[in-house]
Symmetry: C4
Subunit: 232 residues, 4 copies
């Protein structure tokens, strides 16, 4: 058995959650799971239908994007995953989907305003939307640069990747991450739900105000603060 | 067997209806069931996935919010349930969800206009939306104050909680209640459907008129009046 | 066995199609099936959940609304069905639902414009929306008058109930009918789909033109004209 | 066994994908599969419910629309398929649906703007919308002319049917095609998803810009160019 079996199994199971959660059509998504001690991650092979996936088919890649183990070509978004793992500590899972509502916000090139407590239960800011890259970067190493586009946008906004675990890439689609691959998948589903409700909120009331700071802090703290009282 | 087994069982079954009715993502919802003679209610433990729930895991809490029985932490919204049970007679079940359309109206901080007979079959007024609390209350005992925010809004509008069994909490999400936990769940599903149709109605006709009083009364009376002729 | 068993069975099976087609929440709908020789129809009992329905529970009613056989109270909309059967020849099934998109158009008090061939495959006019009744009629025999409201609106518009097998009742919801109960159910599903697409069409292009007459006629004739070539 | 069994089987399996992918209501769709050596295609019989389909029921038609084998009447859209097969080389499958979002764009008589990379992964232009035919053509051999309407619109726009494998027919609905019937079905599902996201994108941001050329080219090339690196 591969010495990477544990992350292959984790990545496999997390990938299989995407169609169950309604977050992907065909193969339009991928999940990776990292082993930081070994400095590698397991990622979905490119273009393989979910029904044909097995843990063994996951591809092992290091944080510079080199293939370490596996017979299939890894996801075309592999370099974006690699850049995020390399530069951001503490994340062990990354998800990319083209889920309907989050992708529509990304295509709109707007960040998602924080309108309610469902959003505030998970993060205290608008969900950021990184602008499309300049032409030089697009024509260069595109997926690699997509990773830096995300890193740079977080740096510009002063966001902490451990507090804001999701981003829209303008004109493209969302990425989410987390301490585990499962948490990253969870974040993708939360993002899609928050994206749908923000869309509806603006349709119902074009002047809907953003959530006020006290409510943002209250909801975030009760789930994530030192005195959190959500969950077991 | 716990002397509270009957309400644990009731609360368990009612909670399990929420994902089947499409009203919750992950653990974003909770149902409680009260025993008024014993002065307690059974409520979902906080953050436990629906697939892992059992009747035994329900937590027993009194109407002041004290935990009476149970090894898990109760829902973070427990104090809101407690306040409603304590101050409103005749209700034996309460539901909280973040269902998509109802939550979007709550985020919009608008009450849901009564546009049709589907709405009038269940209540004769717009579905009220309690305003967000002031900052002092939010930073205080938040969930406890959420209960009073609902009570006060009903008092201001002169609404009877036995006739209007649902409310939106501004920026947050809906609560519903009823004579039984099953009825409260039913009300949550009705609210979500009415919320979706009110949204669509305004999209189709921005000048859509509210239902006229004679139709409101007719539909409500045929289901709920002394000469009602709906159901068996 | 009841001498009305055949229509009870037909009505039962047609009613059971409604939840499968996503046209009803809980018990918000009903189907009837008529035997014109015997002058009666079988209709769903009021407020009985679909999972508890059996053919034997269907109620037999004559065209004046008198209960002929059955131990349960018939649907609260029974008199509307009776009026339509009595005054319109050739229809042997009627369906009432509160399906999401059709009901939203009804609440908007707008007829559904004929925007495309999906619509024209089934009827050559806008889908009519009968206005709400005046207060006197509402406070009188409401469901009976709803039937006449539909009849009168068809008469005013010069519509033939054999060519236009569906109507919206303003502020309320749709009714559909047909030669058989199955055809009436089919029409309810078609109406819901056409209603959703007409809503989206106006959202995408507020100036979307109605279908031109040559296309309307072509599509209707190929399915329903003397030289129709759709189906077997 | 019929010497056309292979395409009957292919067409059958592809047709059965349509309801699974949520692209059709009742019988509102059809798929054909061609054998170019034999100069024929297998197509769904008209108006037969999906649950009653079998490979044997598929009808064999040549590229001029003559029925070669089969006891049932072929789809009413058969001549449109025939024209496309006859005039466009390299396509071996065609799909027609009335899927909700794509049909709503067709009814709106607008082409679908290229707003994001989901779209660019599949084609580099807006999804074209052929205008409705003039009255003479509609009243003539309608389905035959629909084929030419598509061919002419592609010629006017200078589009290559091997690069743009989908079209909206104004006021009507979409057609898609591909090297195989499976690919044509895949294209119908992609079109529906892209159509939904383009609709949402305009709702969220009425000024949403089209994707810039560098991004269009990058995404298309990584899936379809000589150095493509998507898939295995």
């Amino acid at each position: 058995m591969s010495k990477y079996h544990h992350i292959k199994q984790t990545a496999y199971e997390a990938n299989m959650q995407l169609p169950k959660l309604g977050l992907v059509l065909f193969t339009f998504g991928n999940v990776s799971a990292a082993d930081r001690e070994k400095g590698v991650f397991a990622i979905k092979p490119s273009g393989v239908p979910y029904k044909d996936l097995t843990p063994e088919k996951m591809v092992i890649v290091d944080f510079d994007g080199n293939i370490i183990e596996g017979e299939l070509r890894p996801s075309s978004d592999t370099l974006t995953h690699a850049v995020l793992y390399k530069h951001w500590d503490g994340i062990n899972g990354i998800v990319h989907t083209h889920s309907t509502y989050a992708t529509s916000w990304a295509q709109s090139q707007r960040c998602i305003p924080i309108f309610g407590t469902t959003h505030a239960d998970h993060l205290t800011t608008d969900i950021p939307c990184a602008p499309p890259m300049n032409d030089e970067l697009i024509e260069g190493n595109y997926e690699y640069q997509t990773g830096f586009q995300i890193l740079n946008h977080f740096a510009e906004l002063g966001l902490d990747h451990k507090e804001v675990e999701m981003v829209l890439v303008g004109n493209h689609a969302p990425f989410t991450w987390g301490k585990t691959a499962d948490k990253a998948v969870y974040n993708s589903a939360v993002l899609e739900s928050v994206a749908q409700m923000a869309y509806l909120t603006e349709q119902i009331n074009a002047q809907a105000p953003r959530l006020k700071d006290t409510l943002i802090n209250k909801h975030y703290q009760r789930k994530h603060g030192p005195d959190s009282y959500y969950g077991q």
